[in-house]
Structure formats: C-alpha cells, structure tokens
C-alpha cells in the first residue's frame, strides 16, 4: 500500500513561497515523475512528502493517514538521493542493513533481506566493500538496495541518475523501471530530464514555479498539452511554437507543431524555408530551418534526408497535429 495525497500543500522559505499550494493524488503502485526546469520546486515537493521539509500549510496523507507532522522515519517511505548519500564508513552490507537495524529486525532476518536485495541488484560480490571502492552505478544500486529492504510504502527518488554518465543512465533507467514492475510499489521520481519522465512514468506531473502545470500519462501530455509551458517542455526536440500570421491562419495566438509532425518536401509545402543546420543521426535527420513568416523551425525526418545548409525546403504540418494556444497560453479546444 502506498497511496499519497497532497491537499493544498504549501512551502515558504523566509517569506518566499516556493510551493504556493499543490493538490495531487498518487495512487498505490503508480510510478509518478515530477518534472520541470531547475528551481521549479520539484525536489522541495518530494522532500515535503519525505518529511525532510516541514510544510508551511496543507495536508500530506500517506495511505489515508495524515502524515503532515510525522518525522521522516515514521512515514514508511524510502528515499534515494542524487548524491547516493551512502554511509562512507560502513560496508555495502552494513549500508543496506542500516534501516533494518534501526527498525530492530533480528540478525538472521537482516542477513536474509540484505542478501536478497544484493542478489536483486547484482551487488552480492561487493557486500564487503566500502562505498568509496564502488563505481557510480554500483553506489546508486546500494542506495536503491538500502531503500528496498525496508519494504516501504513508497520509494522517493531525487534525481537519482544525474551523477551518472549517459550510457549508465540509460541502463539504470531500465533497471529502475524493471524494479518498479517487479515490486509493484509506488514510486515518486524527480527529474529535470523529460526523456526519463516520458520513458519511466505512469503519470507525469509537470511543475513550474512551484505550481502544477499539468498531470497526465506521458502520451496524454505529449498529445494534449494543456498550455504552452507543457507543450514546450514535453517532447524532444522541443515543439515549434509559431506566432503571427501563420498562427492567425489557424485562429490562434500561437500554434505549436512538433518537429516529427512536419512533412518535408523539396518541391512544395505550406511553409518555405532555408536549412541552417542539418543533423544526421542515421535513424533520424534533424533540420533547423529558417522559415519564411514562421521563424526558426526544427523538423525531424525519419531516416536520411538529403539536405544541407543553404538548401530550400518546404514544410507542411500534419493534419490534426497543429496545437492551438490562446493569448493566455492555454490550449484551445
């Protein structure tokens, strides 16, 4: 069981409201990702759930019970930190065993659980080592092991992959997703990386300036962004946002077209432009185009597209894939 509910949760630091008031429901077993730019309050929100920060207002319920004033240890949650936060003077075994020792579990049970977690995380050969003797990925696995053995109501992850290199990040991402499927536990995961958010989440919470911009499944957010912020934040490369006459032609203040929803042609199309940079990835080609009347636009073409800087191309947005936004930045029906 690991349902978490935030009701009007607020946090201020010295008169500055970093979380002006958040309402959110996290279902049992869900993988929820808080995503947003730096300073949007996503880590603060996670720390409020963890109990590492005191809420300035509102209520936090864990499994239906008011946990707002409970200390971290009594919330039944486990947290994995960005810096791993392992105990440097303890072996891997003792690091993983620590929460069980604190809970007064007997030695035989501790041993069974620690070895079980180590086996799950491929750490069996490293149990006698100190954190300083491990690689970044192994340290992160120890941190996860320390969280697993407690069998918590929910796991909280605070940008756990930020300190890893790109290749390791991808494999750890998969490992965490597999772990979620295996354990079926509630996981709340903070990241600024929207690829992590899109690939791992059941539900994404997009935050901006301490407020929730939109909550939904990755594809809901991708297909139906509620406003310009979400539209620009979700998707890679970023959605093209176009104002002026091209937008007015669609009856909107701003229109948004994702790079992958632009059809390119050398002969004809809605918007004519000149290629400024061409990025050939093999599987895809990204063309950065200076379009007439639409400004700088990025187009994504599947496979190879023979165009280079200075070439003229024509772009046509796919039917039904043009997002319209009003003057207030909100999506129009």
């Amino acid at each position: 069981m690991g349902a978490i509910a935030l009701q009007g949760v607020k946090k201020s630091f010295g008169g500055v409201a970093v979380i002006p008031g958040v309402d959110l429901e996290i279902e049992n077993g869900e993988f929820v990702v808080f995503v947003g730019p730096s300073g949007c309050g996503k880590s603060t929100l996670l720390r409020l759930i963890a109990g590492l920060e005191d809420a300035s207002g509102g209520m936090i319920r864990i499994n239906g019970k008011d946990a707002t004033a409970l200390p971290p240890a009594r919330r039944g949650l486990a947290m994995v930190f960005q810096s791993y936060a392992l105990y440097p003077h303890m072996s891997v075994y003792r690091n993983i065993a620590f929460p069980l020792k604190m809970a007064g579990v007997d030695k035989a049970e501790i041993d069974r659980k620690v070895r079980g977690a180590a086996a799950t995380l491929n750490l069996t050969d490293y149990l006698d080592r100190r954190p300083g003797q491990l690689s970044g990925g192994q340290r992160q696995r120890v941190a996860i092991g320390r969280a697993i053995v407690r069998e918590p109501a929910a796991f909280l992850f605070d940008e756990p992959l930020s300190n890893l290199d790109a290749a390791l990040r991808v494999s750890m991402r998969l490992e965490i997703s597999e772990l979620h499927q295996k354990l079926g536990a509630t996981m709340v995961y903070v990241t600024h990386d929207q690829v992590e958010a899109m690939t791992m989440a059941d539900k994404i919470v997009v935050l901006n300036r301490g407020a929730i911009e939109q909550v939904g499944s990755p594809l809901e957010l991708y297909r139906s962004p509620a406003n310009l912020f979400v539209a620009a934040f979700i998707g890679s490369p970023k959605m093209n946002l176009i104002e002026g006459a091209a937008a007015a032609a669609h009856g909107a203040n701003t229109i948004g077209v994702r790079p992958e929803h632009l059809t390119l042609s050398r002969e004809a199309g809605d918007w004519k432009g000149v290629v400024t940079i061409a990025e050939h990835l093999g599987s895809d080609t990204f063309l950065h185009v200076e379009g007439e009347g639409v400004g700088a636009v990025t187009a994504r073409v599947s496979g190879e597209f023979g165009a280079g800087p200075g070439d003229t191309v024509h772009m046509t947005p796919e039917a039904g894939r043009v997002y319209r936004f009003g003057a207030d930045g909100k999506a129009m029906a």
Binding site: A73, M79, F81, Y87, H89, R146
Partner: protein, 276 residues
C-alpha cells in the same frame, strides 16, 4: 596547467624550506643543547654550539630541587581535563550550528572568535577575584575550567568546520532510514566526525599544555603545571640558563613527542575547511 618544476627550482625550494624550518626549530634546539652545558658554558661568549663538555648535571639538579612528576601530572590533568570539558560543550554547539544554522549563527561564531582577540590581561583581575572568592585559586578544577573556556572558541570553530564538511544528505538518509537523533549521532555522525574530533582534541591539549599566562597567575604550588615549573628557574637570585633549559626541555618533551607522532592529524586539523 601544472607548473613545471625543474630540478634546480626544486632544490632551491627545498633549501628555503629547510632554512625556514631550522630557523623556527633553532630556539628549541638551542634550549636542548644548553640543557647539557654547565652554567658557565651556557653564558660563554662566543657561545659554544656542540663542542662542550656534555653533562646531565642540570637534569639531576632540577630533579632534586623540584617535583617534576607532580608538575607534569598537573599539566596532564589540566590539558586533558580542559580539552574534555571543552569538547563536552563544543560538540553539541558545533553540531547545532553546522546542521541547524539560524541567520545569527555566523555572528555568534564571529563573536566567539572575537573573544580570543581580547588581551587576557584585560580580564585577569575579575577572574582572579572570582577565583579567590570561590576558593578556586591554585586548584586543578579552577584551571581546567578556565583553560576549557579560553580554548572553547577555537574548539567550536574547528568542530564546526569539520561538521560542515559532512554532507547533509547523509544525515537525511539516516533520518529516512529510521534513525532518531541519538542513533543518527552514534551510528552516522560520530564515526564520520572522529578524525575531526581527534585533531581538535590534540590541538587543544597542546594549546592548554603550553598556556602560561593563566597557569602562572592562578596557581602557586599545588596546582602548578610545567609552565610554572619552568618559570621557577627564572628567579630573582639570578638566571640559571642551563637549569632553566633543562627544565624547559623536560617540560616540552612530552608534548613534542605527542606532536611528532600526530603531525598529520594536527596539520589536517589546522587547515581543515581551508581547501576542499
């Protein structure tokens, strides 16, 4: 880019370092050498450096005239006692300042340090009178208290910089793992802070051992430590350089040995927080 050191440059740097080190060490060396001279050789002009009649006579005389063991024991009690007392107060103080700072923490730390800048003689009279009224003059308890208090700012500062180096996330992790305050301190903080506490203790023992102003002014005979023992050889009847040197050598020997074997910790303690 790393600076290139040619062999000649390295040799020059070594020569300068050795010269400076010898200059600093020279007074101690001279004291030790003088302690093995006769009183006549000790004041001879030009001074004799190594080629003199080496004698243990001064040590024997000093041993006869005064009770070295008692003074040494007083020094141990005062330096170790005051260090433990200072730690007892400073550990929780530094802990709270490092991990739950308020907007006034820096000011409090600066204020504490500023008390070290005050000349000790400025508060001698009130402290002397308090000691007299409370019956603390020439008592070990009184000296332990005063030594602990005068070194407290340094102890708090050193521990504070040490504790600041312990990442807050590790403490938060311990809290998430179910550790209460005492478990957090015993299992996580203390083991991580042991090197810092040890080097702070070491430095404080040395400072208290070498302190002369308060020990000379607040003791007479019973509680007099080694500093008073040395001073007793600078008497109105005349200076006995060789015996004074023997007494000084005997007084600094224990702390010199302690310092020699704990150089690494001492340097780390003194430079901690200066560089990461």
């Amino acid at each position: 880019m790393a600076r290139a050191h040619t062999p000649a440059r390295k040799a020059a740097i070594s020569a300068v370092a050795w010269t400076v080190a010898l200059l600093i060490f020279f007074p101690i060396l001279w004291t030790v050498l003088t302690s093995f001279k006769t009183e006549g050789q000790a004041v001879s002009t030009p001074p004799v450096f190594v080629f003199f009649d080496w004698t243990w006579e001064n040590y024997a005389t000093v041993q006869e005239r005064s009770n070295y063991a008692r003074h040494a024991m007083n020094s141990v009690v005062i330096s170790v006692g005051s260090t433990l007392l200072a730690l007892l107060i400073a550990v929780p103080a530094a802990w709270s300042m490092a991990f739950s700072p308020t907007k006034h923490t820096k000011n409090i730390l600066m204020w504490m340090l500023s008390t070290k800048m005050m000349p000790a003689v400025g508060v001698l009279v009130p402290i002397y009178l308090l000691f007299r009224d409370w019956g603390l003059l020439d008592t070990l308890g009184g000296l332990v208290a005063v030594m602990a208090l005068i070194n407290l700012p340094i102890v708090v500062w050193m521990l504070y910089t040490y504790f600041k180096e312990i990442p807050g996330e590790i403490l938060e992790a311990a809290r998430m793992d179910g550790a209460g305050l005492s478990a957090e301190i015993i299992h996580v903080l203390a083991p991580m802070a042991v090197p810092g506490i040890a080097s702070t203790m070491l430095l404080n023992v040395i400072l208290a051992w070498n302190e002369a102003f308060w020990t000379l002014n607040l003791t007479a005979a019973k509680a007099a430590p080694l500093t008073a023992f040395i001073a007793s050889y600078s008497s109105p009847e005349g200076l006995f350089w060789a015996k004074l040197s023997a007494a000084s050598t005997m007084a600094i020997l224990p702390i010199l040995v302690l310092g020699w074997f704990s150089q690494k910790q001492l340097v780390r303690g003194l430079t901690f927080g200066a560089v990461k």
